[in-house]
Structure formats: structure tokens, C-alpha cells
Symmetry: D2
Subunit: 342 residues, 4 copies
């Protein structure tokens, strides 16, 4: 059986990554590609690396016939996404990659994103898309909200520990190193090769990054009380990858055991042997997340390190994993490609 | 039906790339991995990006039972390869990725590589592995010699033109820009990130690069008279990719038409529209080769540009394509993954 | 004695590079920095790497009092530059870094740049700024036109050979590899780190790059007859550097001797020993140009390779060298810093 | 007055950087360059970027006549350095760039470096080379021990805060992002461009990095009681730079004020405006250190970020600054070059 797929916002990096992944999927067929700013162009023009594929041309949103579509990926900028999704057919299965449906509390949404939410009804039914932890809800969902790429990485490193109650909830520091494709295809001076390639820096320092909204929501829900983490992202001169160095207070061995138990049945989460640290170079282009645990020299402190590819496991790979669940396709279909190294 | 595969020399980049590709192949199973220097280690130790795969540990060559093996990839350094292959079972199907069986004339081999060939018998039966031009021979071959990655790129840009007699055979210049993984995993100062990442340079300047032996052999055979090209490779601060800028004297439109005809049935050779230039960023991690033709402002001169991934189409992807033919598997099996961008 | 300097267009890369160089100059003082789009900002805001310097804030052009200024560097985009310079005091010494005054024939200017020249009078008096070949004219000039960075590199590799009549004038091919800062601070998708860092490509293929106007003008003048070269630039994932691989027909040894003689008194042109090839990593951040000559395996053909830093010797360093001459300061003042390696 | 300088271990990166800096120094002259493995070679052969300089050839250590030398820089690997320095003339002024004389307690040295110290007498007289905090001792010293590059960065971010007693001494976390030149010119697989350029990772995780010995020694001395910090370095795909993200408990505004006061007279330490974060791209190739302070969203927590160039301020620039003091030359001589950007 073949499932008909639409992708809206197909001219950005997450859109291109979705097409890359779906091109290797055994039972999905891309029927429509929406991209208003480049409507009328072929994907080979917009993304020459996809020119060998037999893909529909980009069209304006209103020219897509959704009657034909089994599932729609929405890879639009936030704010735009909620406006568009509010108008899509109410029974259309949707995986949204934007930030618009991640936060359940509209007030929290407004606090982090600055605008009143324009699709409150849809927001109510949206399921948070961190597959490994919301699998059953996602299977039953109509609308799934893809998580932030940083938020996903941090949660893989922390959710089982918070759930197990084995770390100090008031002393969690996440220091993230993010590759530049996470910033999308936007044109900014500090994303230019000339400025980034030999320079790196922290951004959104001090707890202002919007993915904190997701951490607050999820960690507090697990703990059953408010949890606030410290989170500092850094922009690194590499294209793909997130490396989360997480400083916690707890017993390293207990942490490692908790991970091994929590992720023993998970195909995409690889827990490294105790004491080993992962590297972004070993997950590039794949849907895998590598997790390492190291005991610090200071008694009672541990370092948890998570590595994944922000465009794959952190975004489009996660989206496809969720779509597989929603369409009752084996969860790993189209996602088992090995990382590209070197 | 499943074919049992062995890879000798599995701890280098081309070995890792073979495993990456075969992990997505529907009818090959890796039964043995040979690597003398790292025998006893698991592939997850040598290449952590492959740790999720169920692979045999690396073993010494003599510990491989070839009775069990349908086809063996040999990814050893040159000179070593011929010595090893001379001792392998005489009926074992082999795809060799080294330089050892590319040159048919032992004297030419000795001239370019400096040593007397140690497997003359095997050299006689070896078929040159440029799939698109030796397809029928490869299907029937026992031993296929993978081409040089630079040699493959240059030949995609020139063979149809020489065959068609539409360019001046005495005025061909190939200026190649090669990414660093082409130099393999060898430890040299100018391959260090600190020295290469912000520096680039020509090497083997003046016609001393060994892949010239392949150009001489192949181009002369096609033309029916000696053809000598000028060839200057450059080391570029990127990981994967070869960009060949080829300067020829001939009519650009005729060249473009010749390409379109020559490659119309080829899955992996994409001829770009007249006047467009390819980029390595659009073939990374894939088995595709992009070809462009541009008319120079000087009447009667054209620039042909070819781009491919040195580790895939230039090496391990080509090897798998040939193995598919030798095992009567559809030629493109395991090779249709889209390029990784960005 | 201290010379008062103004820089117009100080918020681009060549402006920043001028300030870097002048900050180490013993007898220049920056009195005014013009940059309309960022007027009112401090240089520390625009370029935090210059925050330790005691510099005037950026001001609008009309707010600069040129009575006070001994020499003005103009680092504006082309077209804008000619309009601005037409209105500056007629006796103000100016070094222009744009393309506007490089071509002596207004028809040639219009052919390459597409607009009628708006400062014909100034164009007439402008001296072409390739210091090593126009030294006496520059000393006496009021307005000096900085050369194109590619044009400078190619000319260092070819002028002495054309002058000596030792190469075939109809068979010159320049294959240039240019780092990305040469494209300036403009916001384009293919200058983003995500798209460039692992991809490289040819651009302006086929003889359409504007620096060809300079080659045509200069080489024809030296030869006393029209000379047309082939010239293909490539964008390379590095920040600074131009590597010109020049294919010529001529005797390599004679070429090397010609270089040694031509450049024996030049501080900034380093002729490498016969057979050695230069690398961009050995000139970064400096005003040096390294030149190598290699004999090809084909009799009668040679490869000349030139390497320089596009922002220093290719642009702002050249500009300062010319300004030193115009102000009767020792030519090398402020320019002797060693390259930054690694 | 000109001071005669020798550099031992001149063929590594810190040696090359010393030569680069001294080439712009008004009163130092390099009289001898020692490098046993490359003795007999010219510096132009070993480091082509220095070929324009008039430098002595590399010689074996025993061929240097130290009678002639006013100050010797020692850029040897640790362990080797102490053995060599033990045999140098007892009245020779020495700036050592190795780790051998940083730790005052021989037991601590042995604990971190694994061998018994072979120059205990010299170790006793050695002064710790963090210029801004040991200025007077350095002026009077015969032997100065250059600090670790990570150790310098962390101390600039923490010493004034510990001295002022305004942060919690038991809750300090240093997350460092280090460019690859800090690993030196050693040949290791994970320093290859192919492996590093698109991958980054933590190393020496868990408090095993040797620079912790310096932190322990210095911070405990300032505090007057044992202070142990958490310190995790990461290898980043860039050539030069250290970015230290330091998590502390204390009042951000008090921290910023303390920095402003502590560094108000320091030429090379730039305290950014409150809330701004520095970037390595703004200090490259220079002797400056940029310091930023940001208040976290969690009350009572602050993030301090320090950026410097590991080869300059973190190593050879610091060494020259110390040598200036030891020779009674103005401290900033030869060190005021602006950073290279982009």
C-alpha cells in the first residue's frame, strides 16, 4: 500500500531532508510540494541534489488538492504554520515541524513566542512529537508537533533521569553545541561561511532560547513539580549535529543503568559503554542518537552527553518516524540508513 | 536470495563506506570483515558510527573462510592488495578497490607504481571497473579493478567526447579539486585539520599523479592513438567530493548533445542543462555524477565540469555497482540514496 | 609626521581589513570612517574584533570634513563608488577599492559592468593600482584604482611572461580557486556556511567574470596586440585565499628565470624554487604572493601557480601599499606582518 | 637595544607562532632556532609561510651557543622540556611553554603527568606565567612557566571572582570549546580534517584533563582553601580559539563590576558590555581576551564567557608578553596586532 504525502514549506532545509528520507521509503509517495515563494519551480532548480528524483513541482498552497493526501508534513516558519494549519482540512493527518504546537499552555506559547496563538483548537489536539516518549499518543493523533531539535537532544539526556528521580532537579545545566543548519536557510551575517567557519559563540545566553519552553513543560510534567534548567546553546562551525553536554548531580553508574533500561528497546537511541563520550561525526545524516555517561572527579556529579543530527533525529527524521506511526507503517521504515562518515 | 560478502581492509574510509552502503542493500549480508592491524576489534570500536549494525568483528585475513563467501571486496593499500589477491581462492569473485589491477600493461604499472607486479596472472583477467563503459565485461568478470576516483571523474567528462571525435585530443586539460577523504586515513601533517581547513594547494603537479596511467590507457584505447592529457589535482578543505574542470577545444553544444545521448540510459550520470555548472554539495554521499557543459567566450572552446563523491561514485559506490552486476543483482540496488544536503 | 586617513565604506570586509592594517602603521591615523547604512554605530559594534582600537564612530558621508584628510580609501560597492568619488574634493588623494576605475576605456567598462560610467573625468586620471607594475605612476597619482583580487593574482603569474614573449599568447588558461571572503559580506544562500562549507563549484564559467576586462586590458597592452585568456573562478570553502593555477605553453625553466629576474627586488612577491607549488595557507593575512613554476610532463607546457590573500595583497594590502607610495611613506610600512599559520 | 633570542622546539605550532610575533617586534632578534628532528633544515622548508624572513636554520640543541642569547623560549613537549632546561646555563632567562613548570608541588606534578619531575631545582624558582596576575614576579624571574591555554582562559574568567568572594566556590563548571591547533601538530586520526571538520566531541571528560592541576593550584591559593572545579573540554572544528562557558552561582552585575575593576588597566583583557557574549572570531591571531557576563533566568546564577586565541594569548603571545617583562621591554611590544577577521 502506498501513502500519498504532501510537504508544505518544501524549500527549506527540513523540507529537503524530508524528501531525502522519503525517497528511500518503501510505501510513501510525494504527491504535492508546497512552497509559496518558489511556486512554479521544480525541486531540481531549488535543490539540485534532488534533481534525479521524480518529484512534483513546487506549487502554491491553495493549489494542493488535499483530498488526495494521506498525510501532510508542514515545514513552515512558526506563526505561519499555525495560520496555515488552521485552514487545512480538519481530518488531514499532519506532522508539523514548526514550534507552533509544542507548548500546550497558550499563555506559555505567548510568553516564549510573543504572539497570541492563532489556532487554539488545533493546539488542543496536538500531540508532542518526541516519539520514544509519546509513541501511543502519536499513533492515535491527527496532528503531531515536532519537537525543537535542541529540546529533543536535551530530553533524550534527561527524561529517564528525572522520571527515575536520581538527579537533583534544581541543578541541571545543559551546554549545547549546535551546527549551523539548525538556524535554517535564513540569510544572516553570522551564518555566512566567512564569519562562522573560524568562529564560534554562545547565543540566546541566559535562558532566553525558546526551546526552554519545551524543557519547562516536559520536565515539570515528569517531575510533578516545576523544573527549571539552565540552557546555553552555542553555534559551531559544522553543518549538522547537536552535542549536548549535560551537567547533573547524581550517581553516574545509576544514570547509565537507567539509560540502558529506558532505551533497551529503542532502535534509534544508542547508549554507549560507561565512560565513553559520543561525537556528532558518528551520527551525521542518520536518525540515531548516541548517549554517553561519565563520572566527574567530583563525587556525586556526572556528565551526560547526547549527540544527534539536528536535521534528521532532531527534526525531519523524527517527523518521518511519527508519520510512520500515524499511518501504521513500521516505525523505522525509511530511517535505517547508516551515518555518513567521514 | 542473500549473497554472502567479505570485506578485506575494512578499517579504512572506503571499507567504512562499503559497509554503510551494504547496510541498506536488500540482498547482501556481510559475513567477514578483514583488517589485520585491528583484528579482534569490533566495528563499533573502529567506526562508532556503525555501532548500531550487527556486524562480525574484524579478523585477520587468514581467519576468513572464503568457502562461504560469494564476493569479496578488497579495500587494501596498493601493492598489499596484489599480494593478498594472488593468494585468495582462484574462483572467488573479487572487487578490488586498490590501484593494483587498473593498468593492463605490466610495464605501465611498473612505471607508475615503481614495483614489479606480483600477481600478473590475476592482472590479465582483471576487468577495468568503470561500470558505465565496461558493463558487459564486468557482468562476466571474476576480478574487477575499481578505478581511481580522479580517473573516474575525468573519464565521465571525456570518454564520450573522445569516442565521438569532437574534441582536440592534444589539448585536454583537467584541473581537479579533490576533497580530503580521497587521501584516505593516513596520518600526514598536511591532512591535519589545522593545516588543511584554511589552506588549499595543488599536488602531484606536472603530470606525476598515478591516475594519469589510467587516463593514458583508456583515452588512447578509445582514440586508437596515443592521447596524453594535462592533469593537476588540488587538495580542497572539504571531506567528500571531486570537481573536475576540464578544458577542451570543441563545440560546446555538440559536447552537450553527445553527453545527453551517451548518458540517456544511465541512472547515475546526470547531465545538467546546457550552461549550468555542477557543485560537489549536490552529490555528497550519493552515487550520482553531475555533468555540466559551458561554452567559453573564446570560439571553439568549452568547459566540461563533473562532480561526484570520491568515496561513493568514485570508489565504494562504484564497487558495489560492479558487485551487483557480478552477482546478477539489479545494478542500482543499495545505491539510490539521495545526496546529503546541506 | 602623521597622515590623516578616511575610509568610506568601512563596514565591509575590505574596510575592516584596512583598519586592521592601518592599526599597525606607524604614521597613519584614521580620522573618519564613513558607512551610511551603519552611521552612528561604533566600529566595536559593527566589528567587535576592532573594539580595542581608538576609532571614530561611523558617520554618514556628508558628515566627513575632507579638509582634514590626507588620503581617503574608498571601499564602496562598484557604481556607488564612482558616484561618490565624482563629488569628493578634486584634490583629495583617493585609493578606490571598487571596480569603477580599473578599466580605461569607458566602452569596455560599460560592456563588463552594464552601466554608463558616471565619473568619466576621474576615470581619465585614475592609475591602475597593481603596485609592482605601476609604481611610478602611483607615486604621482591622485586617484588609484585598486585591482580585482583575481585580476591581481593572474597578473602576477603572467605579466612578466607576456612581456618577455616566452609563452603562447593564445593558449593561456587561468583556473582560479577563490575563498569566500572575496564575495564580500553579501547575504546569499550559497555563501551560507551550511551550503558552502562542504561544497565547492565553478562560477561565472565561460568567460563572463568581470575581472576578465582587466586581463584583456592589461595583457593586450603589454603584448601590443589583443590577448584573450580563458578564466574560470571556483568558490572554495575557505575564508581567505586565491590560488591561481595557470596553464601556459612555454619553457618552464625560462619562465622560472623570468620570474626570478622580474621579482628580484620585490618585497612581497616570493618566487618558490623551481618545481614547488604554493599553498594559500602560507600567505593568509599577509601581503605576500607566492609563485611556483612546474614543468608539465608534456614537452613545452608549464603550470604557474600563484597564491595570495584576497583581502590583503588582493585588496586592502595592495591599497595600503599604494597609499604609502602616494604619501611618500616607505612602501612596505604596515605590511610586513607574517602570515597567520595555522 | 636589540635582545638576542633563541627558540627551542621551533618546528611546532607554538614555535611558528613565536616567530610570527617576534618578526613584528622592534627590539628582538632571533639568533638561534633549535629543533632536533628537523636540524639542518631552513625555516622556509619547515614553515613556508615564514620563508620571507631572514632566519637562522634549525640546528640541534647542542649546536646553540647560549653565551650569545639574552632569552630562550622553550617550546618543547612536556617531559622533554624539563630534561633540556635542567642542562641549560643556570643564568639563562627562559620562558617555557610546556607544562613542566606550572605546578609548584612536585607531588601534584607527578599525579597529573605520571612521571617524577627531572628538574626539581628549576621547578622551585619557576614563576607561573599568567602575566596579568604574576606581573611583578615575572619581571624578576629567570624561568617563567607558560600556562596551559585552557588554564589561562578559565583563570581570566574566574580569578577576580574568587578573589572577590562573590561566587560559590563549590559550584563552578567550565565547559570549554577548543580549536584544534591546541592539540599541536601531532598526527592522530581524530585530528585529520576528514574526521574533525564535520564532527565535534568532548574529551578528557570527567575531570581528567591535566590543566585541572593548574586550576586546583591557583584557585585554591586565591581562596585560601581547596577549590575544585568541574571542567570539560570539547574539540571544535576550527583552527584557533578557546571559548570558555563558565557557569557560576553569584550576582551577574557584581561579577561584571568586579571584572571591570580588575581589568581596567589591562591592555589585553576586554570586558564586553553587560549581557554581551564574545566570539572566537573576534580574537583570532591576536593577544586579546574578550570577557562577557550574562545573567541567567535562574536567580543567582550567571554565565561568564571568555574567548581568546589559544596560540597567541593562550600560549606564544603570553610567552612574548612575559619575555618583554623579563627583558624590561614595554609589555605590549610586538603584541598589538588586531585580530584577523574574517
Amino acid at each position: 500500500m502506498t501513502h500519498n504525502i504532501a510537504i508544505i514549506g518544501a524549500s527549506g532545509y527540513t523540507g529537503a531532508e524530508l524528501i531525502r528520507l522519503i525517497s528511500g521509503h518503501s510505501s510513501m509517495k510525494i504527491k504535492a510540494l508546497g512552497g509559496n515563494s518558489k511556486a512554479g519551480q521544480s525541486m531540481g532548480q531549488v535543490f539540485p541534489h534532488l534533481r534525479h528524483l521524480d518529484l512534483p513541482d513546487l506549487v502554491a498552497l491553495e493549489d494542493i488538492d488535499f483530498a488526495d493526501i494521506d498525510l501532510c508534513f508542514c515545514a513552515l516558519p512558526h506563526k505561519t504554520s499555525q495560520e496555515v494549519i488552521a485552514k487545512l482540512p480538519a481530518d488531514l493527518k499532519i506532522v508539523d515541524l514548526s514550534a507552533d504546537f509544542r507548548l500546550r499552555d497558550p499563555a506559555e506559547y505567548e510568553r516564549w513566542y510573543g504572539n497570541r496563538h492563532a489556532a487554539l483548537e488545533q493546539q488542543k489536539e496536538a500531540v508532542y512529537g518526541l516519539t520514544e516518549f509519546y509513541r501511543d499518543d502519536i499513533k492515535a493523533a491527527r496532528l503531531v508537533a515536532g519537537t525543537g531539535c535542541n529540546a529533543a537532544t536535551g530530553q533524550f539526556a534527561l527524561r529517564p533521569l528525572i522520571a527515575a528521580g536520581i538527579i537533583d532537579l534544581d541543578e541541571i545545566i545543559l551546554d549545547l553545541k549546535c551546527a549551523v543548519s539548525g538556524a535554517g536557510r535564513s540569510l544572516k551575517e553570522n551564518l555566512l561561511h566567512a564569519e562562522l567557519s573560524e568562529g564560534y559563540h554562545a547565543y540566546s545566553v541566559g535562558g532566553t532560547h525558546r526551546h526552554l519552553g519545551e524543557f519547562d513543560q516536559e520536565f515539570s510534567a515528569i517531575a510533578g513539580r516545576p523544573v527549571k534548567v539552565q540552557f546555553t546553546p552555542h553555534l559551531i562551525p559544522a553543518n549538522r549535529g547537536i552535542l549536548a553536554t549535560v551537567y547533573v548531580k547524581g550517581d553516574a553508574r545509576a544514570i547509565h543503568e537507567t539509560f540502558e533500561k529506558a532505551y533497551s528497546d529503542e532502535t534509534f537511541i544508542e547508549v554507549l559503554p560507561m565512560g565513553e563520550a559520543p561525537s556528532t561525526r558518528h551520527v551525521r545524516g542518520s536518525n540515531f542518537c548516541h548517549l554517553g555517561v561519565v563520572q566527574d572527579r567530583i563525587e556525586g556529579r556526572a556528565i551526560v552527553i547526547a549527540a544527534l543530527d539536528n536535521l534528521t533525529k532532531g527534526s525531519s527524521g523524527q517527523a518521518l518516524q511519527n508519520a510512520n506511526l500515524m499511518l501504521d507503517i513500521p516505525e523505522t521504515e525509511g530511517l535505517m540508513m547508516a551515518p555518513l562518515f567521514p
